[in-house]
Symmetry: C2
Subunit: 376 residues, 2 copies
């Protein structure tokens, strides 16, 4: 099978290398790149010549970003080509549109690499759903923030020092906002909810990152047998669903607390299978390239993957109601004192907690908030 690669960055090069050395029968026939980066014969900067090439049955998009990725994917599907993508931002933004186009033109739209890098997360959700409903999912979906929190805790570093190390190692961008403010996790949470719950998930979910987390916060939690991780979460029940991205205080002895460095750990709860957890490299050229190539092999094997969001699940954030903790020099509304400068807020939905936290941030920009584990 002849395929085209859109983008030749970290992931694109990984995909190309894995296919060349390990996947006989698949040929990367064309590569779309910028005009000043055309370094081999397969490369072109003209997408039209890929679109019109009938011999190319599959387009692999690993450019990242919203445009032109969105347009290119939509055009490929409309031209009757299968699409595999590692681009979480564009999938989170346009999943419904891509799913409809794939359905209409009888082609596959595959997104394994968009969440969890090399972890077979999307495929596992889909496999579980052949038998079970997925009641909930949660987990560590961003390696950068896990590296920062893990370094702060194990090496007792300040946030800025840990972030600097992550940047030196190439785990964090120069502008780390998408990671530390939870935007990357929000995209992955939206995609996971779409697949797990068969719903065109809301985009304006409550999102809180770890920008204001301090070493002292981690010490506060550790003294109570807890630590903090940035979680994407989703739950579905009785025709409704809820999603949220926020730091969550979890038991120090839990599996999630033990996740080191820049690894990911994602969990789901199925009705008959119980809890399942999946751990691995959430990013990187070869792990993410591996996930892309797994999707390519599925297309070669004739797997047709369709998404149907017509089930009409209702968004109800009250499904994620729980207690929160805010560390701040000012008392949040609806709070009770827990320790000096630490406040406990009972029984809030994630949007309610986010609203209160935003008000606190106006007076104390260094305030930190985390969800507390459910009791009982």
């Amino acid at each position: 099978m002849k395929i085209a690669l859109l983008g030749y960055g970290t992931v694109g090069r990984g995909v190309d290398g894995i296919i060349r050395s390990r996947v006989p029968g698949v040929e990367v026939a064309r590569v779309l790149e910028l005009p000043d980066r055309l370094t081999d014969d397969r490369m072109t900067s003209d997408y039209a010549c890929i679109l019109s090439d009938q011999s190319i049955e599959l387009v692999v998009e690993c450019m990242g970003g919203i445009e032109p990725a969105h347009t290119f994917i939509a055009q490929a599907l409309a031209a009757g080509k299968h699409v595999v993508t590692s681009n979480k931002a564009v999938v989170a933004a346009y999943f419904g549109e891509f799913a409809s186009l794939a359905d209409e033109h009888d082609v596959s739209f595959l997104i394994e690499a968009s969440v969890g890098g090399g972890i077979p997360w999307i495929a596992s959700i889909e496999k579980v759903r052949r038998i079970d409903e997925v009641r909930s999912f949660s987990g560590i979906m961003n390696g950068t923030t896990n590296y920062i929190i893990d370094s702060m805790r194990r090496d007792e570093l300040d946030f800025d020092v840990a972030l600097g190390r992550a940047q030196e190692l190439g785990y964090a961008e120069r502008d780390p906002s998408a990671d530390i403010d939870g935007i990357d996790v929000a995209n992955k949470t939206i995609i996971s909810a779409c697949v797990a719950f068969d719903v065109d998930c809301v985009r304006d979910l409550p999102v809180t990152g770890i920008r204001t987390l301090t070493k002292a916060d981690l010490e506060f939690f550790a003294a109570r047998g807890l630590t903090v991780k940035l979680f994407g979460r989703g739950v579905s029940k009785d025709g409704c669903y809820a999603v949220a991205v926020e730091p969550v205080a979890i038991p120090l002895l839990s599996l999630e607390a033990a996740v080191p460095s820049n690894f990911n750990l994602v969990s789901l709860e199925g009705f008959t299978v119980g809890p399942l957890k999946f751990y691995g490299q959430g990013a990187g050229s070869l792990p993410t390239g591996n996930a892309v190539v797994q999707d390519v092999i599925d297309v070669v094997h004739g797997r047709i993957q369709r998404y149907d969001f017509s089930r009409g699940l209702k968004y109800d954030p009250s499904l994620l109601t729980g207690d929160y903790v805010i560390r701040s020099s000012v008392a949040p509304s609806h709070s009770e004192g827990w320790a000096p400068g630490v406040w406990r807020l009972r029984s809030l939905t994630p949007p309610q907690a986010r609203q209160i936290y935003e008000k606190v941030l106006q007076e104390d920009a260094s305030a930190f908030m985390a969800a507390l584990p459910q009791e009982g």
Copy 2:
């Protein structure tokens, strides 16, 4: 598709319930049971009438044990019926024979439920191998022993008390030998090696259990930042492979150390995908039933799974060479003192360590041995 169920115990009932309520298009048409347990119309104690029934395309074996399971599976494959089994003992003993029969008669032989209960372990190894070699696998494959060790550590119980609790909860048999002596893990390690390395794995691998583990041993390790778990392990390199079952001392902060109660956690290392870890319920009616039903659905979807052990990998236990610790009132050969009554043995293969340990046991039946983590 019409299928027959052999055995109507814990797993068989789980399979029957899941198929009836969740898998349209599949019918459990016959159930093989003992003559005094025929409680519904589908049940028979005459296997010949299942074998000769051309309408039955798939036989699901969940009787357990070696015979008559071995004969029944071989006969079903020879009769051109697909076979799905949850029976690790019979698969570990006769994998090569079953694989040849399935190949010869052009049917599938599927074994997901034989290792790791509801965890998609076998399928994940197979998927990884579409692209990668599996360099190694390891993990907690037995929920009973994990429950015992976890209770000993978290609740500071003696071995016998923890074992008693496991028996009360139904996690351990009245005769717990197969679990605590590592025999169950040995079967799962053999099966994992067959699938991961494409080899008809040796049956006489070194196997050490946790029968002699004490609370004091766990305290000794904890003081050194370690704890103990019972691991099945396999590694492959340069045309060779090695396997072993033994307690392994691991860092207290590792993911494996955090595995609670009767859960399993199995890991593999692929060349491009890196390390992947899978966590879930390793036993139980619904999780194991779920794994069986996933295999049934794969057969319905036309998946043909074949195993070919002709690669001729050589068994070389030196691939797992490492250091060991023995707690004993007598000094083992080749050991150096580590602490009072605790000895360290450097650079041994698992069979060498096992041999030394067996000698020690003749003089001190309460001695305990564990492999130490690789340094560097």
